[in-house]
């Protein structure tokens, strides 16, 4: 298996910048996050533009959870119980998460899970 993975290695690339060609998939848009706004409003503009993409990612994670727990109980717990975790999170993050849930239409529990995915995933 190691040998089969080593076949993916290649000689050090040169002159790949500026990015182009088959390994370049596109540029990234820039948004301003105004820290003078109330935390619940800071992410509104970004969510207005990206809520569909965010919903796709969250749905994918839910689909994986449902694959392992077909009863749907895990997603049910996330939607109805995990949202209470927000109350224990420090300011301003708790209010920012609530704001993202409001402006994206994604349930708060799912937004919280997306934001603590690192801690869950390090297992």
């Amino acid at each position: 298996q190691r040998r089969s993975l080593e076949q993916y290695g290649e000689e050090c690339k040169t002159k790949t910048y500026p990015p182009s060609g088959p390994t370049f998939k596109g540029n990234v848009p820039t948004y301003i996050i105004n820290l003078d706004l109330p935390p619940s409003k800071r992410w509104d503009e970004l969510m207005r533009d990206k809520k569909t993409e965010l919903k796709t990612v969250v749905q994918n994670i839910k689909d994986i959870a449902n694959t392992f727990f077909p009863s749907g109980k895990i997603v049910d717990i996330v939607d109805h119980k995990i949202s209470h975790l927000t109350e224990t999170l420090p300011y301003p993050f708790n209010e920012e998460l609530q704001g993202i849930a409001n402006s994206s239409g994604v349930p708060l529990g799912e937004i919280v899970i997306f934001n603590i995915f690192y801690e869950i995933f390090t297992v």
Partner: protein, 253 residues
């Protein structure tokens, strides 16, 4: 992930990373790619956090995620975070949090707080090294002065190792993937050796953001999990982010 802080012969510092994410979270047979990795790409954004119409810091984020995994505080420091796997992992911290022990920081919130509030490279280094965490992590930090660059290997409670740039001893770059530097990487996931080989071939004389982009574009440093490449310079908080694709043949991680 692969993060690099490098210093050129003039003392200028560069910081760059490949953000790899989505391992085992669905394989799309039709497109020969990780499903979550593919779906995350359209959510990648550069953010400019401002107060009084002035930039406080910049970051590269997934839309909907309020923590930080890559960011720059102009003229002070650059920061990336790489995932560190451990049996004493984040689930332990989460369990403790539910039980009421809440003196640890969530990783993304710590990096966000550091980018927002730290007043110097040393201040950022201290906060990243000493704050109790819910999950282990690697913090890769760059400054603006010669020798200011390090990899902080964190357990949930302590800094296990701080690896600093040391130009006099020939350490002109520090590099972190997802393994402790004093241990060999997982035999099936060795991105460290090819990345170091390419950096050594590049040499300190020729190091720059374009040549670091070359390193991060070399398979398997670039792999099927790579969502984007971010290039940063601390001076004026310069940031560039590019979405990536790894055409076949390409390592799955």
């Amino acid at each position: 992930c692969t993060s690099i802080v490098a210093e050129d012969k003039t003392g200028k510092l560069y910081h760059a990373r490949n953000l790899d994410f989505g391992l085992f979270l669905g394989w799309d047979v039709k497109n020969n790619s990780w499903t979550l990795t593919r779906e995350l790409k359209p959510t990648v954004v550069n953010l400019d956090f401002q107060r009084n119409n002035k930039t406080v810091f910049r970051s590269t984020n997934f839309a909907g995620y309020i923590g930080m995994v890559s960011g720059v505080k102009p003229d002070l420091f650059t920061l990336t975070m790489n995932e560190r796997f451990s049996l004493d992992g984040g689930y332990v911290g989460i369990f403790e949090w539910f039980l009421g022990r809440r003196d640890g920081m969530w990783m993304g919130f710590l990096t966000r707080a550091v980018l927002e509030n730290a007043t110097s490279y040393q201040d950022a280094k201290d906060k990243l090294a000493k704050t109790r965490l819910l999950a282990p992590a690697y913090f890769i930090l760059g400054g603006k002065n010669s020798g200011e660059g390090c990899v902080i290997t964190r357990s949930r409670t302590a800094a296990l190792d701080i690896w600093d740039l040391d130009i006099k001893k020939g350490t002109w770059y520090v590099l972190e993937t997802n393994y402790d530097r004093w241990k060999p990487p997982l035999i099936l996931d060795n991105r460290r050796t090819p990345a170091m080989k390419c950096l050594n071939q590049t040499t300190q004389e020729n190091i720059s953001l374009p040549t670091i982009y070359d390193v991060l574009s070399t398979k398997p440093v670039l792999n099927k999990l790579t969502v984007c490449t971010t290039l940063m310079e601390v001076y004026n908080g310069h940031t560039e982010t590019y979405l990536r694709e790894c055409p076949d043949p390409c390592s799955p991680w």
